[in-house]
């Protein structure tokens, strides 16, 4: 199997609303290497959640295709897709909405096996207990209902549930944005440990570039449904090319009063291009949408040599 666990070509999903068709995501091309964490950063309306849900086949894409582990699952009928669903799981944003209020934690954790008809009852319960422990929750929570847990604990239950079927690929859709900052750090560290321990490939979606930077190896920037820049995280931080990425980076307040930059570069919100941009490789794994390459001020010193080769 090639090293790409997931590869997406020209993926588009449109929603028909009263006021015309809204192109949530348009022409996204992306490869996710096995074992890596690809971060997706984008503000509201950038289509990052739609991308996650379309890859999970929760939405039927208009065109483009999704290959998972070498298998084209874009238009695979639900019946055939069902066994593969256990390979990719999702962690949701809102801890208060993503778990059933009526089931006990045990039932919630074992439901994936009930649906996929795997393991006997004892094995399921044993696995549920081991995962509860792995996400740092006491054994007693097995019989409790979710309204007895805090936001952070519920998110841990969500993570445990996503891991019940030993998936290869996890999509975390804004897993910590609804949590307090102190609890956030704990959940992020838990996710990092579990990923390395279980050798998971992860797609980490968030509007907070700091969190994405911390969790990911490579970061993709989405803007108005298009993928506009993709690079390893340090490269992206040190050498942003697309004006939107630059504005994004300069807007993030740095937690160090000495480096308050009174003067700030103006925020540029480019118009939405009619056609999805083509990504051009500009050196050391840094891809940026072609139509931005010709902008004058992009020719800064430190990446002039990049353009030459």
């Amino acid at each position: 199997m090639d090293k790409h666990l997931i590869s997406i070509q020209n993926l588009s999903k449109y929603f028909v609303t009263k006021t015309g068709t809204h192109k949530a995501i348009d022409g996204i091309t992306l490869d996710i290497v096995k074992g890596e964490t690809l971060g997706i950063v984008g503000e509201s309306g950038s289509g990052k959640t739609t991308l996650g849900r379309t890859i999970m086949r929760l939405y039927e894409p208009e065109h483009g295709n999704i290959t998972f582990d070498g298998l084209d699952i874009t238009h695979m009928p639900e019946k055939k897709l069902r066994p593969y669903r256990k390979e990719f799981q999702m962690i949701f944003q809102n801890p208060y909405e993503s778990l059933s209020p009526r089931l006990t934690v045990g039932e919630i954790l074992e439901e994936p096996h009930v649906i996929q008809k795997m393991l006997s009852k004892e094995e399921r319960t044993k696995k549920a207990y081991s995962l509860l422990e792995k996400v740092g929750l006491p054994k007693t929570s097995y019989l409790k209902k979710i309204h007895e847990f805090s936001g952070g604990q519920r998110q841990r239950i969500g993570i445990a549930r996503a891991l019940m079927l030993d998936p290869k690929f996890i999509i975390a859709d804004e897993p910590v944005s609804a949590l307090d900052v102190s609890v956030q750090a704990q959940v992020l560290n838990l996710l990092k440990d579990l990923q390395s321990e279980l050798d998971l490939t992860c797609l980490f979606i968030s509007h907070d570039l700091g969190v994405v930077h911390y969790m990911s190896d490579r970061v993709a920037v989405m803007y108005l449904g298009h993928l506009i820049e993709l690079a390893p995280k340090d490269e992206l931080y040190r050498n942003p090319i697309h004006p939107y990425t630059k504005s994004l980076l300069s807007s993030i307040p740095i937690a160090d009063p000495e480096r308050r930059n009174a003067y700030r570069k103006p925020i540029i919100m480019p118009e939405k291009p009619l056609y999805p941009p083509q990504l051009i490789h500009v050196g050391n794994e840094h891809y940026v949408s072609a139509n931005m390459i010709h902008i004058k001020e992009f020719e800064t010193e430190d990446n002039r040599n990049l353009i030459r080769n």
């Binding site: 503000e43 509201s44 805090s150 307090d180 900052v181 102190s182 609890v183 956030q184 750090a185 704990q186 992020l188 560290n189 990092k192 509007h207 907070d208 570039l209 700091g210 969190v211 930077h213 911390y214 931080y237 504005s247 994004l248 980076l249 300069s250 807007s251 993030i252 307040p253 740095i254 937690a255 160090d256 009063p257 000495e258 308050r260 700030r264 925020i267 919100m269």
Partner: protein, 326 residues
């Protein structure tokens, strides 16, 4: 008029009564000089919003300021009647709220709402109101004020609505702006523009700002003075540079440590719980309140703010030997 614009001394606020009384905030003391931005930072449930609401006497029905004093411009707020308060609210102190989406009356044109304060406080004639509204809209960054004037709130984005609220807040040129998490619900690019707007107004009118937030990045970028709050108490306070360079209270260290920064070369995020109590505490006295995980019960033995260095206060338990009741 002393440079002290706002002075709060050991304010206690409680909700409910009898058996289920809940002390939202205990022993709060802080002061704001004119032209200064003071930040109140803490997580949800730390009592920072309640403190800000009490300055304008806008506490919900079952809340009341039990003791302490709030003096604004040498006038004691807690003793003021509702009539007197109405003259101050929006006129001398105005407030910007977090939930921009629902903070505007959906059935009223945006332009009209902006100038309500002027009409009510300054009895400005109707003819002038529209002109002032348009200039306010320009000040808060709208290029097409005439078009925006006639819009209804549901036709504007979150960021635009927050700018409308700011225009409302600064319409009567107040001396103090209280911003209660003004940008939590906004995207980071809009957040910076909104915070810059408030900062520009402060400089232009030599006003002061009480910024309520949970994001230390915002504090570092905009605040001059910082009060860190937890469990309804101030646990550490000082000017922004001392707090960042030499945080002492474990909770403050935890809050600063758990922000994922872009320059970190991959070392592990420290969460608030990694800064569990250094046994030494400070000069033999333990940090208060004892545990800070939001779920466990917090033990409130008597404690007070001690000045560990000029202008830098930390909350410590009064007696050195304190039995910790979980």
């Amino acid at each position: 008029m002393s440079s002290r614009l706002l002075e709060i001394n050991n304010l206690n606020i409680a909700f409910g009564s009898g058996k289920n009384v809940f002390n939202a905030v205990t022993d709060i003391s802080l002061s704001i000089n004119s032209g200064q931005t003071v930040a109140l930072i803490g997580e949800s449930g730390s009592g920072k919003s309640v403190t800000s609401l009490s300055v304008l006497k806008l506490l919900p029905a079952n809340g009341r300021a039990e003791s302490g004093s709030i003096s604004f411009d040498d006038k004691e707020i807690l003793q003021m009647t509702e009539k007197e308060m109405q003259k101050i609210r929006g006129n001398e102190i105005s407030m910007i709220f977090q939930d921009a989406i629902a903070s505007l009356n959906p059935a009223m044109k945006v332009g009209v709402q902006i100038t309500e304060g002027l009409k009510y406080h300054k009895q400005m004639p109707k003819s002038e109101l529209r002109a002032v509204a348009l200039s306010l809209l320009e000040q808060v960054g709208f290029h097409n004020p005439a078009h925006i004037y006639d819009q209804y709130p549901s036709q504007l984005s979150g960021g635009m609505k927050q700018r409308i609220l700011i225009a409302m807040a600064i319409s009567c040129k107040p001396k103090l702006i209280i911003a209660d998490e003004p940008t939590t619900a906004l995207d980071v690019t809009i957040q910076r523009q909104v915070l810059d707007l408030i900062a520009d107004y402060k400089i232009r009118e030599d006003a002061s700002v009480l910024m309520i937030t949970h994001d230390f990045g915002v504090v570092a970028e905009y605040a001059d003075w910082v009060y860190v709050m937890f469990g309804g108490r101030i646990v550490e306070s000082g000017d922004v540079f001392t707090i960042f360079n030499n945080p002492i209270h474990p909770y403050t260290k935890g809050l600063i440590g758990c922000i994922p920064s872009l320059e970190s070369d991959g070392e592990r995020l420290k969460s608030v719980y990694d800064y569990s109590f250094e046994e030494a505490g400070y000069k033999g006295r333990k940090f208060a309140p004892e545990t800070y995980s939001m779920e466990s019960k917090v033990y409130h033995a008597p404690s007070s703010l001690i000045e560990v260095e000029p202008g830098h206060y930390v909350r410590l338990f009064d007696e050195s030997e304190v039995t910790i009741v979980g």
